[in-house]
Symmetry: C2
DNA sequence: TGTTGAATGTGTATATTATACACATTCAGT
DNA sequence: ACTGAATGTGTATAATATACACATTCAACA
């Protein structure tokens, strides 16, 4: 039995990772060679995305698609926006690419955007055919289709969330130092924070808890390690009373 | 020429209105009569929604669909979430309703959720065939399809936004009093605020500006009227520095 | 025209939170 | 034992949040 792939529906996933210095995004190479395989017609990158099956949940599709392209498992995805402009697939390269696979070009492909936050950029990526690599988010220039726009929207969403919810911990290893946490916020929000004030603020977050363990093997005073406690967070978040700004 | 309607894609719009007391939502009656027209097979309500055309933008679809059902014009919509569970249309009533129109039931209809905020609940609604009415949000029990879930998500989104951005002014008349503004926040967030402290907070919002006009025809001290200035807001919002909580 | 009912509009004291800012400590490596 | 590199800490001041009570102004009515 063959599952029916929906030609007018797809899912695109923005996979973020933090390497303790920069925010990165996982991109898939899109390289089209001439028939004789000797010259390259074009080469660029896209997000991890593909069409969904008729009998497939959106959330499951995100998991499947990323797994197909990267081998990554157990990622958590969150939907952030859906893109449905009529001109999403306008560039000649995009059309050539699609035709190459014999797909009919739907007059418009609606794509649901998901993002995922990974705690590092060293995980083993199983490249099944196409090259997949990490790129610093702020150096990404052009992408296939409207993926640049999707990436921007995901970033915007991430920044917004970061200022209102403790999503940042998903981008840090389970045990992290306060300097790492500070770097994360600085990198994503593009700001600079005072170390003492940052730590004072964090010390008020009861859900960031120090553990009986310190950094090891560093050529300086080893830092205290912390973990994020989702349980404590759920208990404390009860009511925020401020409106906006 | 006939435009092709996409059977597996739809847009559902959650239209909120505030009547100075309660948050309300605009719902469309869904009444199915027996063939002889004498008995009612079932009757319930749904959000304003319908399938989109092949050659139609998502945003335009929202505008068209709401206009078709209500005659309302010039609404501003914002997308908040997309629903694509495989069991969205599970209830027998939903299936009967769809079959009635001779539509094929797609195995899954993906629907993009939009919401709109109206400054009052008195606008002239042109009912084209189906009855459309305002209902207090917190008294809505069951809805067609998964529309109850969609409404909840829209509400959640609205509350979130309300605490972080000045979207509430869209639910108030152009000229409003501070008491009205306070009531709005209390109604939507389900909280109670101290009048003096609320006003102190608002007085720090440079974009809420008093005008040379007072309430008229009220049997008590007439209140100062205010307007929201988007221009001033854009200038002031520069940087918010808090993370979360 | 004066009395009533109803909502408006205002200030202060106290507690909490935000900001600005500099130096001793601890480790690995040599 | 010395160096380089990052950690970890406190205080004074400013800004913001909270708790709380009463005189004012209008329309309506007697």
């Amino acid at each position: 039995m063959t599952r029916k792939l929906l030609t007018n529906l797809s899912v695109d996933c923005v996979i973020f990772g933090f390497d303790m210095d920069q925010l990165k995004v996982l991109l898939v190479e899109r390289k089209l060679k001439s028939d004789d395989g000797k010259s390259i017609i074009f080469s660029d990158h896209s997000l991890t995305g593909y069409h969904i099956y008729e009998d497939e949940d959106l959330d499951s599709a995100a998991i499947r698609i990323v797994n197909d392209l990267t081998g990554l498992e157990n990622l958590k995805f969150e939907q952030f926006y859906t893109f449905g402009s009529l001109d999403r697939i306008a560039h000649p390269n995009d059309q050539i690419w699609i035709e190459q696979f014999g797909d009919v070009i739907s007059s418009r492909v609606l794509t649901v955007g998901y993002y995922s936050l990974l705690p590092n950029t060293n995980m083993n990526i199983i490249q099944k055919g196409r090259k997949v690599n990490w790129f610093p988010v702020d150096q990404v220039k052009e992408l296939a289709y409207d993926h640049k726009e999707i990436l921007e929207k995901a970033l915007e969403h991430l920044r917004y969330k970061l200022q209102n919810e403790p999503v940042g911990f998903n981008l840090l290893p389970e045990k992290f130092t306060l300097s790492q946490m500070q770097k994360l916020y600085e990198a994503i929000l593009g700001a600079k924070y005072d170390k003492r004030n940052f730590r004072k603020k964090v010390s008020q977050m009861s859900y960031v808890v120090p553990i009986k363990e310190k950094q090891q093997g560093v050529a300086h005073k080893p830092a205290q390690l912390y973990i994020f406690s989702p349980e404590v967070y759920e208990k404390t978040r009860k009511e925020r009373n401020h409106f906006f700004i």
